[in-house]
């Protein structure tokens, strides 16, 4: 090997762990330049490098539980998603979706040469050791030294070792090949045997560092253990010498870590969601049949990381024909490389499902909104029933996958015309027996069956029902008759099929914006707000999804949506501004 071909690229990346330090379901406690890191490998092999504190109370996340998809804080159980570090669940608020703003600080990670590299401040690439080109490098045991990194780098310049094939010998001559990069590259030659090694020094803080060595070739299996022990013994001796030396020198100034403010929100769940904006561009990576008249779409982000979602969440899909439609994500927890939705071809399509089925193809680019969750899943129930009618299974699949992964008790009941009409059979197969299908029932039989599935209500039982309107209306009645309280039965409607009465006129006072606006017959509150420059989130704009809910401070709302349940309607403290109106001359809204 010509020595002049060996170079390293200078960067601000450092190794923070060995690949073998990150087995599945373990959380590694790392540190770089004074900053503590919680490092964990998800089941999809993504390496997460996060600031080591929970956004709630600052407890170290390195003692948290890596469940393969999410990291759970040991203190109050806040959960953070693989890849994004966005909060997915807060046990103290089991019925609410955490705000999008609750997201931990992440750092990049690249696995290279059997090490995990990261950086606190640069989008540049991790170091490249030219000597390792086309080879399979062999990482050594990392050795922590209680001394400044500079002293260790200096000591490594005269470090000597035997090449792999002459590990028992003592005649090696070691020369430094590269000393000006992040890695010190040295070559040891003994007779006709040669081994190159790259030594990276990871600065933990001012008074501690880790030597992470990598050999250019993997020794023969019989030599593996003796090579590892040879290098470990030599590096430990170097460590002991440098620690003695460091003890005689004045201690360096400690690294003052500057913590930026955690990106928390003013409130845990009450954060305004973006209005109906197509903020993300995605490409259709896969379109395939997932059931009769049902197409699956796997949507891949263009460049950016997809945002965190919670089970039950939906996205707005902006279609090439100008229509906007809502579809639930069926994703498993921590699955954030793509979003997957299922679309049923509606016989009376107004152009949405038809366009997705007939026009949109693999490779097409679509605009979507960030995920919103108006159908949040509690994870504290002792029994969770997921009841799906037809394509209504999509949000419930995502819920089932979270409950399945967390080994929580649940049943997924799927009502469909025939087994061909059951969507995403391959996903259901992964749920291992917790799926019960009810095929070919008449509407009357379906109602009876839902009653049997629900049974009488017991403490901490929750049911989630999604399907066609008539099925949901019947489900409401059956559940109420069986003694299920409103707060234990959760619904998601596809659409609001009630005829909206737009004839009333009234005025709305906006308590926070200090405005009073008239709403004439034929206008919606949402239209009037927007026309007057008040930004309000919305999604379906037909009273089904719950995105445009606002708090009512005074007046009697005229509810025309299908999102609120009976007790919420009676309470009159929230309303959907897209369809609901007033039964009083004036409404005071908390906007």
């Amino acid at each position: 090997m010509a020595s002049d071909s060996i170079q390293t690229v200078v960067t601000t990346w450092y190794p923070i762990a060995a690949g073998t330090d990150l087995p599945y379901r373990h959380t590694y406690h790392g540190q770089l330049l004074g900053r503590e890191l919680a490092v964990w490998r998800a089941d999809d092999d993504y390496v997460n490098v996060w600031e080591n504190r929970c956004l709630h109370r600052g407890v170290r996340l390195s003692i948290g539980i890596n469940d393969g998809a999410e990291l759970r804080c040991q203190y109050h159980g806040w959960r953070y998603a693989n890849r994004t570090a966005g909060c997915t669940y807060i046990p103290a608020h089991p019925a609410d979706a955490p705000a999008r703003a609750i997201c931990n600080r992440t750092y990049p990670a690249v696995e290279r040469y059997g090490l995990v590299f990261s950086t606190l401040d640069g989008p540049t690439e991790p170091p490249v050791v030219d000597a390792f080109d086309e080879r399979e490098p062999f990482p050594l045991r990392g050795v922590e030294v209680c001394a400044p990194a500079e002293l260790v780098r200096e000591a490594l310049r005269t470090h000597e070792f035997q090449p792999n094939d002459r590990i028992e010998g003592n005649g090696a001559h070691t020369t430094v090949v590269v000393a000006d990069g992040e890695a010190l590259v040295v070559t040891s030659v003994d007779g006709d045997s040669a081994t190159s090694a790259a030594f990276f020094v990871q600065p933990v803080d001012a008074m501690a560092c880790v030597i992470r060595g990598v050999l250019d070739t993997e020794p023969a299996p019989a030599q593996r253990s003796s090579v590892l022990r040879h290098h470990n013994a030599l590096l430990c001796r170097l460590r002991d010498d440098v620690e003695v030396l460091a003890g005689r020198l004045p201690a360096p100034e400690p690294i003052e870590d500057v913590f930026e403010d955690a990106p928390t929100s003013p409130s845990i769940t009450d954060v305004a969601m973006p209005r109906r904006a197509p903020t993300l561009r995605v490409q259709v990576a896969r379109k395939w049949s997932v059931g009769q008249d049902i197409a699956g779409f796997e949507l891949e982000p263009l460049g950016a990381q997809l945002p965190t979602f919670q089970p039950g969440a939906h996205i707005d899909v902006h279609l090439p024909n100008g229509l906007v439609r809502q579809y639930s994500l069926i994703n498993a927890p921590g699955e954030l490389q793509t979003y997957t939705i299922g679309v049923k071809r509606e016989p009376n399509s107004r152009g949405g499902s038809e366009c997705l089925h007939d026009t949109v193809r693999e490779g097409d680019v679509l605009a979507i909104s960030e995920p919103r969750n108006n159908f949040p899943l509690r994870r504290d129930a002792v029994r969770t029933l997921l009841i799906a009618g037809g394509i209504g299974v999509t949000p419930l699949l995502s819920m089932a996958r979270v409950l399945h992964h967390g080994q929580l008790p649940y049943e997924l009941h799927v009502f469909a015309q025939s087994s061909d009409h059951v969507a995403f059979g391959e996903v259901m197969a992964g749920l291992e027996g917790s799926v019960i299908t009810h095929l070919g029932l008449t509407p009357e039989e379906t109602i009876v069956e839902i009653g049997d599935v629900l049974g009488p209500h017991a403490e901490a039982n929750h049911a989630y029902i999604c399907g066609p309107g008539p099925m949901l209306d019947a489900g409401r009645r059956v559940a109420a008759d069986a003694g299920w309280p409103d707060e234990a039965v959760h619904f998601e409607y596809f659409a609001n099929t009630t005829t909206i009465d737009h004839t009333s006129s009234f005025e709305v006072a906006l308590a926070r914006s200090a405005m009073t606006l008239p709403v004439a017959a034929g206008e919606t509150i949402l239209d009037v707000l927007r026309a007057n420059g008040v930004d309000v989130p919305s999604s379906c704009e037909q009273g089904a999804c719950g995105t445009c809910a606002v708090a009512v401070l005074e007046g009697r709302p005229d509810h025309q949506d299908v999102y609120l349940n009976e007790s919420e309607r009676r309470a009159g403290t929230r309303m959907m501004t897209c369809v609901s109106r007033a039964n009083s001359a004036r409404l005071v809204l908390d906007i």
Binding site: T20, D21, H29, D67, R72, R141, E144, S225
Partner: protein, 214 residues
């Protein structure tokens, strides 16, 4: 039933609770007011153990003291598999004894630092911490090479032994004595494995591990 003279916050008593739970042996915990009552130094307790230490067990009149001796007795008597105290394998038995003696060292350093910090024991805290780090370095290196040979436990067997249980509480509670395990990644991984042994129980200061990947 076995009586265990016990204190909830004692690392050495926790070692017995772990083994009894893993062996599914029922026992009665007799609480000793170790702190702040100093009951283990009372005349009454010194009749049970003249050294004034806990744990002590009383197994139908057979009284035994010293944490690591009790582990030997319980495993030899109640473990039908013969794995926890492997008397049938001379080499493995030797290793087990070696690491039990090593655990005397971690008790006298890491656990002593914890007694100093949390219960005001008058120990030389710097000496305790330095000593603990010296031992943890050795144990971390040992476990790293065990892993490189695809072995999970302190002794060279495919199953845990009482040596793992003798060491685990001293290591896992070391943070309460100001001794971080951050720089001992192999020790931290081994702690996850101990926490996943069927029958593992918690005590204050010990956090559970999640399930292993199926």
């Amino acid at each position: 039933m076995i009586k265990l003279y016990d204190f909830e916050l004692s690392a050495n008593c926790y070692k017995q609770r772990l083994l009894l739970s893993m062996l599914e042996v029922p026992y009665e915990s007799i609480p000793v007011d170790f702190f702040p009552g100093w009951e283990h130094k009372s005349d009454a307790f010194k009749k049970i153990n003249p050294l004034g230490h806990i744990p002590v067990i009383d197994d139908a009149g057979y009284v035994l003291r010293d944490a690591h001796a009790i582990l030997v007795y319980l495993a030899a008597k109640y473990d039908a598999t013969g794995q926890w105290y492997p008397t049938g394998d001379a080499e493995l038995l030797g290793e087990t004894a070696q690491w039990l003696l090593f655990a005397e060292g971690t008790t006298n350093t890491a656990s002593a630092a914890r007694l100093h910090d949390s219960l005001d024991y008058p120990f030389d805290i710097q000496a305790c911490r330095t000593g603990a780090h010296r031992l943890f370095r050795v144990l971390d290196e040992h476990l790293w090479f065990r892993e490189s040979e695809e072995l999970d436990w302190v002794c060279s067997a495919g199953h845990p032994t009482i040596a793992d249980l003798a060491l685990f509480p001293d290591v896992a509670l070391a943070g309460e004595g100001g001794i971080t395990c951050q720089q001992y990644p192999a020790l931290r991984r081994w702690m996850d494995r101990v926490k996943r042994i069927p029958g593992f129980t918690l005590m204050p200061g010990i956090f559970p591990a999640g399930p292993a990947r199926q």
